[in-house]
């Protein structure tokens, strides 16, 4: 039996906090909830449980069954079979960097390659070896900025066109800091005047400005002015990027972004509820000691052979404890590997081709939908990558329900998170969608336009 404390220790602890019994600690929980009746059925055999679980699982629909136009942060790309095959090799199949990391040169080399790929992709100087997901990576950008200014700059300006979940996670991370304000939600970014208003809010008390690229509505915004103005005010700028889009677009580094973060899911990781996804975090050399998380470096061993090591660990939580930049920066070792394999398999040209296919197909879809009666593009003059907003003649949830009859998953209902965007659907198109799929989607949209 596992006995963490002796009865003597328990007694001492209770006495210290002035409580007579352990039960007393649970007084605040209403009595009827303290020991609820579980009503579990009697045990069944393995064969029976397998059949029952299969039945439960079959109630779910997936992108195997449906053609999906749903994106909003997670994207259904094709994943070459070799990714999973290599990923599941016993030598790699553990999510953690091993203790005594230098003994696992293969793992460290894979991480090093991942970092190199990410810096190449983003045009930034350095990449760490990952966070949980894009949202936590974005929150770590706020962490970095806070520590870089030693808490003296109190304002984090997060554009309203940043993924709403990311904005929530940034707020969650920042709530424990003294007087830090997360602003930006109050500025409507429906048109370009919004970005001017946002730029005007940047001042000498601003630690970080966070924008998304392409933004949550799929738009490719030119942030040059905003970055320059931020730097004039001494503030840092973080880009939240979609990695696939960087196959076509000018990278964050070319905008002189200080930090570039994103979710690596589109790079070889299947969409699934709750992950695992992958947080990519890149920055400039000058912020490296304020960056959270793992970093692998290349060196030579005593015999002069190339070798990989964990480097700059003194800034990390296991050494710096509460003074480290972050204490919640667990990496996603296996997912960095998936991304590394995915990008290696595609190669530079293949990756550009995926981005180009997404772009072309999305533009074809937008063009077709814009011609439908009752439908129009919400931002017809703004350039976009593979996602765009459609104004619909009926509430989006009603349309999506009807689309399911056609085995189509419609786009994201923006009114769920932007109350002012009633009847607006965020449509994503990846390379997996065929022209035929788009034509069927367009026809179905027309069919369900009216009650």
């Amino acid at each position: 039996m596992f006995t963490p404390h002796t009865s003597l220790e328990v007694e001492e602890m209770l006495k210290e906090i002035g409580v007579a019994t352990i039960e007393e600690l649970f007084d605040k929980v209403p009595e009827k909830y303290r020991f609820p009746e579980l009503n579990l059925p009697a045990g069944i055999s393995e064969m029976e449980i397998a059949s029952e679980l299969k039945e439960i699982a079959s109630a779910n629909a997936s992108t195997e069954d449906f053609v999906s136009f749903l994106g909003a942060g997670a994207y259904d790309h094709y994943i070459p079979a070799a990714v999973d095959m290599l990923l599941r090799r016993g030598e790699f199949y553990t999510a953690y960097t091993p203790y005594q990391p230098e003994i696992s040169q293969g793992t460290l080399q894979a991480i090093f390659e991942f970092q190199s790929l990410m810096t190449e992709l983003t045009g930034m100087d350095v990449s760490n070896a990952s966070h949980y997901d894009g949202a936590t990576a974005a929150a770590e950008a706020a962490n970095l900025a806070y520590h870089f200014f030693r808490g003296k700059r109190k304002k984090m300006l997060v554009a309203r066109s940043v993924n709403p979940q990311y904005r929530e996670v940034i707020r969650t991370y920042m709530q424990g800091f003294d007087d830090v304000q997360v602003l930006g939600d109050e500025v409507n970014l429906g048109d370009s005047s919004g970005f001017e208003e946002l730029t005007d809010m940047i001042d000498q008390n601003t630690a970080l400005v966070v924008v998304q690229y392409p933004d949550f509505f799929g738009r490719v915004i030119n942030y040059t002015k905003l970055v320059n103005y931020s730097h004039d005010q001494g503030a840092l700028v973080a880009f939240i990027f979609n990695p696939t889009a960087l196959g076509l677009l000018k990278p964050p580094g070319a905008f002189d972004a200080d930090i570039a973060v994103g979710d690596g899911q589109p790079l070889g990781i299947p969409i699934s509820f709750g992950g695992p996804y992958l947080g990519i975090f890149t920055t400039k050399q000058k912020y490296i000691r304020k960056m959270a998380g793992r970093l692998v470096g290349e060196t030579v061993d005593v015999e002069g052979n190339k070798a990989y090591v964990l480097t700059l660990t003194a800034r990390e939580q296991h050494i710096r404890r509460e003074r480290s930049t972050s204490n919640i920066c667990t990496n996603q070792g296996l997912m960095t590997l998936a991304t590394t394999i995915y990008l290696s398999l595609l190669g530079k040209q293949g990756f550009k081709q995926v981005a180009n296919l997404c772009y072309q197909k999305a533009h074809y879809a937008a063009q077709q939908i814009a011609q439908l009666d009752g439908y129009q593009l919400a931002f017809p003059d703004e350039p976009f990558f593979h996602e765009f907003v459609v104004k619909t003649p009926r509430p989006v949830n009603e349309i999506n329900l009807r689309l399911q009859d056609h085995w189509i998953l419609g786009g994201f209902d923006l009114s769920e998170v932007y109350p002012e965007m009633q009847n607006q659907m965020l449509v994503a198109v990846t390379e997996k969608i065929s022209k035929n799929d788009i034509d069927e989607f367009t026809a179905a949209l027309q069919e369900v336009a009216h009650v």
Binding site: R150, R289, A314, R315, I319, R320, R323
Partner: protein
């Protein structure tokens, strides 16, 4: 191990030297020796900052550890050693002269009374080494 006379030493291995109206602060030879090769120095204050005894002055990172340097007295920062950012190894090579960290004015010179003189600090180090 060098422990110059005329300086005051803290148990956390900072030294402080009073010169006229100002005091100079750095880390001791014992401290740099135990840290081994210093690779990064981050001063946590700027000129003009008001600081209290016990506040963090700097973080010193060596190949094997990261240590905080603590203010041994309260006062106002007059000057910081900008050179340390580019040549952190100065802390190893010359901890008492070129390796100074900040110059400050003291709010209350009696802050120094709680510190050790060179002989007491030498004895304290000997004791720590067992």
């Amino acid at each position: 191990m060098k422990t110059p006379q005329g300086l005051k030493y803290a148990k956390t291995d900072e030294w402080i030297k009073v010169e006229g109206n100002q005091a100079i602060v750095g880390i001791s030879d014992y401290a740099q020796d135990h840290l081994s090769d210093v690779v990064y120095v981050e001063l946590m204050v700027e000129e003009g900052d008001t600081v209290s005894k016990g506040d963090t002055l700097a973080t010193v990172e060596s190949v094997k550890a990261a240590a905080d340097v603590i203010f041994p007295a309260s006062g106002k920062i007059l000057e910081i050693n900008e050179d340390l950012a580019d040549s952190p190894e100065t802390l190893n090579n010359d901890p008492y002269e070129a390796g100074w960290m900040i110059k400050m004015s003291l709010d209350d010179p009696s802050d120094l009374d709680a510190l050790m003189d060179a002989d007491a600090y030498t004895a304290y180090n000997k004791e720590r080494e067992g």
